[in-house]
Amino acid sequence: MSIADVCVVACAEAWRGDGEVLASPMGVIPTLGAKLARATFSPGLLLSDGEAFLMHENGIEGWMPYRQVFTVVASGRRHVMMGASQIDRYGNQNISCIGDWARPKSQLLGVRGAPGNTINHPTSYFVPNHSPKVFVENVDMVCGIGYDRGAFEIRVVVTNLAVLDFDTPSHEMRLRSVHPGVAVEAVVEATGFKLSIPDSVPITREPTESELAIIDRLDPSKQRESQLPRP
C-alpha cells in the first residue's frame, strides 16, 4: 500500500452517498477514486470520459457530449473534483493566475468551469503538493467560490498529506484526518493559514485488500505513483 493508494481511497470517499450524479474528476488520482467509488460503494455514479461518453469499466454506457454537461451543472446533479493552484480557509480556489490579474507572474489555465461548479453543485479538490504556496491566506484570483462567498458545498480537500473538510460552525477548513505516517504538525506547517484541528485527529483509512485489487486492475501501470511529489 502506498500514499497514492490512500489518496485514491480518500478521493473515492468524497463521492460516498452521492447516488446518481455525474462524477467529474480531474486528474489521475481523482479519476481512479471516482472509478473505485463506482465499482464499490457508489454504484449509481455516472462517469464521463471528459469528451462525449458516459463510461463504465468495460465500455460505453451513455452519450453526454461536452455541451450537455452545462445543463447537468445547472441542475445540481454533479460532483466535481478539481485541482487548485491556491485555496484558502473557506475553500475559495484559484486556477487562473498567480500575482496580479492584469500582469500576472504566472498566467495559469483560466477559471474553467469553477465559477459555475461551485455555486451549483458539490465541489471537492485534490492537491498533490500540500504546501503553504497552495494553502494561502488569500487566493490571488477567486475562480471557485468558498463558503464565505456562497458556495453550494465544498465537500473535501484531499492532499498528499491529509483530508480536510469544512465541518466547523463558520465553515473554515478543518483537518479531518492525516494519512498514515504523517504527523499533524506536518500538515499545520504545510498550511499557510490557521487550520481548525480537532482534539483527536484520526488516520485516513487504508484501502482494503479488495480495494487494492480494484485499484491495481484500474491502473495496472501504476500511473498514480507518479502523481505525488517524492518524499
Partner: protein, 267 residues
C-alpha cells in the same frame, strides 16, 4: 448560400485585421489549417475568442496575430500550459495580449445568445468570484418572476467564425458528427463564417448525433483534407498525441518557436 473556395482565398476574403474571430472546436475537429493560413497571411490585431483555446491559438498568439483573447480555459490538453500565451500575457511578447476571462458555461451562453439574436444570456455562476472585478463583460440581472439575482453575459457575435467539419455537399450544406463543442452556436452567431471540410460528397446521408449546418447560414466552404490535424476528425484520422507533447518543447523557447514558425509556415 455558401461558396466553395480555396483555403487561402477564403481566409483572405473573410478574415480582416482587427476582426473578432472564433476558431471553435472541442478536442475534436479543431480548425488548425485555417489558423495556420491566418498566420501565413499575417493578420494583425485580431480579437480571438474560443471556449477552450489550445495550441493553434498559442501559435497565432506567438506569431503576433492577436491583440485580445476571450476564453475560459487555455492549455495544451493533457500536457500543460500554453507557453506563447503565457509569454504574451506575462511579458508582452511578441505583443501585449489583453485577456477577457469567462467560465465555460459563460462562453457557451454568450454564443447561444448571439446565435439566438438576443442581447445577453442569463446563468447562475460568476457570483462571488473575482471575474466580477476583472471582466467588464458581465453584470447582474434580477429575475422578474422570482427576484433572484443572476449573472448576465453579453451576446458574442464574432465577425468571423471558422470551424472544421467532416464533410459538405456541393451546395455547401455541412455535416459534422462525433464530439461537438459550440461550433454550431459560433457559426450562427457570427457575421461571416468559413467551414473547412475533409471532403465534398454528393449526398449527406444520416449520421447519429450529427450537426447539420445548412448552406444558407454559411459564407464559404473550403476542402482541406487533414485540416484538423494534429487534433482528429472522427471517421477520418486519429489525434496525434505526440505532436501535443512536442509542442510543449517547441513553444517553451522564443527562438525555437520562431524557428518553427519560419520552417513550418514560412512566417
Amino acid at each position: 448560400m455558401a461558396e466553395l473556395v480555396g483555403l487561402a482565398e477564403g481566409i483572405a476574403a473573410l478574415v480582416h485585421d482587427g476582426d473578432t474571430v472564433s476558431l471553435e472546436g472541442f478536442t475534436h475537429l479543431i480548425p488548425v489549417a485555417a489558423g495556420h493560413e491566418i498566420i501565413r497571411q499575417r493578420r494583425r490585431d485580431l480579437t480571438l475568442a474560443r471556449m477552450t483555446p489550445d495550441i493553434v491559438y498559442d501559435q497565432m498568439i506567438g506569431a503576433g496575430c492577436a491583440r485580445r483573447l476571450i476564453f475560459a480555459w487555455g492549455g495544451n490538453p493533457g500536457v500543460g500550459s500554453l507557453h506563447r500565451l503565457r509569454d504574451a500575457v506575462e511579458n508582452d511578447w511578441p505583443a501585449p495580449l489583453e485577456i477577457e476571462e469567462h467560465s465555460h458555461a459563460g462562453m457557451a451562453n454568450r454564443y447561444t445568445a448571439g446565435a439566438s439574436g438576443l442581447p445577453f444570456a442569463v446563468l447562475r455562476g460568476y457570483t462571488g468570484t473575482d471575474l466580477v472585478r476583472h471582466t467588464s463583460s458581465l453584470a447582474t440581472v434580477t429575475c422578474p418572476f422570482t427576484g433572484e439575482v443572476l449573472t448576465a453575459v453579453p451576446a458574442l457575435n464574432p465577425d468571423v467564425a471558422v470551424i472544421h467539419a467532416q464533410r459538405a455537399d456541393r451546395k455547401g450544406n455541412v455535416q459534422l458528427w462525433g464530439l461537438a463543442g459550440v461550433q454550431k452556436e459560433a457559426v450562427l452567431a457570427a457575421k461571416r463564417c468559413l467551414v473547412t471540410v475533409e471532403e465534398i460528397v454528393e449526398e449527406l446521408d444520416a449520421r447519429p448525433n450529427a450537426v447539420v449546418l445548412p448552406s444558407w447560414v454559411i459564407t464559404a466552404v473550403a476542402v482541406v483534407p487533414g485540416g484538423a490535424k494534429p487534433s482528429y476528425a472522427q471517421g477520418y484520422y486519429d489525434r496525434d498525441n505526440l505532436y501535443y507533447r512536442r509542442w510543449d518543447a517547441i513553444s517553451r523557447d522564443r527562438d525555437t518557436f520562431t524557428g518553427w514558425l519560419a520552417d513550418e509556415l514560412g512566417s
